[in-house]
Symmetry: none
Subunit: 141 residues, 4 copies
């Protein structure tokens, strides 16, 4: 690849579009959540704690976004990937900030991963749906 | 043993030979990984993150090398060793930096352990094969 | 900036050119050091501990590279910047991984920051000279 | 140096000789202290908390031994070394486990550093004298 390469990344405007898209879905579902958007390095770009969202979710949402950035997969794919490999199942969960349940989703634009969004506070299915709505909002913005 | 003994350890040249050997195998396999080489005390000597390797693997590779140095076994032997002892299986995984799945291999020269190599980023089998190639590269260097 | 932008970053080949350039200068100076190269997000790309380098320097070198990536300035510019502001001087040093003394230098190519190099183990002047030699080696590679 | 080198290190018998020598001096001085002996990698070999020694000293003694192993100098030489370099004085103290006051001393045999001893619980002068007595006890053993 030569000495350097270009990593495409969300701007704050892009991260805000993701955050707003996720938040709209959370409002529609009537579930207060914490929302975090990170760049491809896993660094926080934007965060919001909706009124009433659990404090516990503040870190979880950020860690979900981080997990997606740090490994590339949606967090929902982690448990199925390790469920039948007991060494991995027992051994990897403690990895720093690793989240193996739904709510973290890659943010892509034109097929390129440009960031990640993490949601915590609802059910697993709600968190994942809200995060996916955030990711989808970027292309529509 | 008397009051002192001599602990044989990799130099940076030795660690580089291990790292390069492992990296060559990773290139052959076409899998981007993180590579870490430690001395027998578990201290980091050399590290490389191949282009595209997951950020999550940066710490995992180093922790695999540390685990080998800290206990003596390849990391692949940990899970079989504790699988049938549930107290150990559930209780020891939290030990600081302990990695119980493949990818960490001792580095030996003339039958003496002189360091450890840890690899993360591929499948368990790939990580282990890459690490073993690194360990084997020392004797050939 | 629109929704996304492109962040130019060192590849492993680029990071290796920086590491090797710094190491050559350390050998010329006859001072064993730890050398770390990070991408613009502060994530570790390559590391080497020269024979005889202090173990204490392993983390310091990495933290110097991180500090450069995390704030943009050479670490040598931090102390002069905060020396006359006692609240800042006493209060900011504890910031996670912040290093306020020489040895961390940005790596630029064609005027664009593409990474950072951190060196620890010599005097402040030696560490800075070695790091600068590493940064300069990229353009020459 | 080739691919490997030999690092001379204390055995447990050697570490015990150091610990016992230090403890005898502490008894002579009538000051209860914590005593720690580490190998050249900074790893703990032997530890004793004398009756009445402060709990706070448990970690301090170990960190003093670690500091000596991790950088090579007696801990008493750290403050004079950094006192006139304000960037270092303010910036390096937070380094993990770094102790910049007396009580940590290298353990040498025939001119080779084979470990370190750390003492905490007395005055700075007492801690240093006790540690030095431990280091001296090795050659006499």
């Amino acid at each position: 690849m030569g000495m350097v390469f270009d990593q495409r990344s969300l701007t704050l405007d892009g991260a805000t579009a993701v955050l707003d898209g996720a938040r709209r879905r959370a409002v529609e579902l009537g579930v207060p959540v914490c929302l975090a958007v990170a760049d491809p390095a896993g660094t926080l770009l934007a965060f919001a704690r909706m009124d009433g969202a659990a404090r516990l979710s503040i870190a979880l949402a950020q860690d979900k976004a981080y997990t997606v950035a740090a490994f590339g997969l949606p967090t929902s794919e982690w448990y199925p990937m390790i469920a039948n490999d007991p060494a991995l199942l027992h051994g990897i969960v403690k990895a720093d900030r690793l989240m193996i349940f739904p709510g973290g989703v890659p943010v892509r634009l034109d097929g390129v991963t440009v960031g990640a969004v993490g949601v915590s506070g609802g059910t697993a299915a709600q968190d994942d749906e809200i995060a996916a709505a955030g990711a989808a909002a970027l292309a529509a913005a």
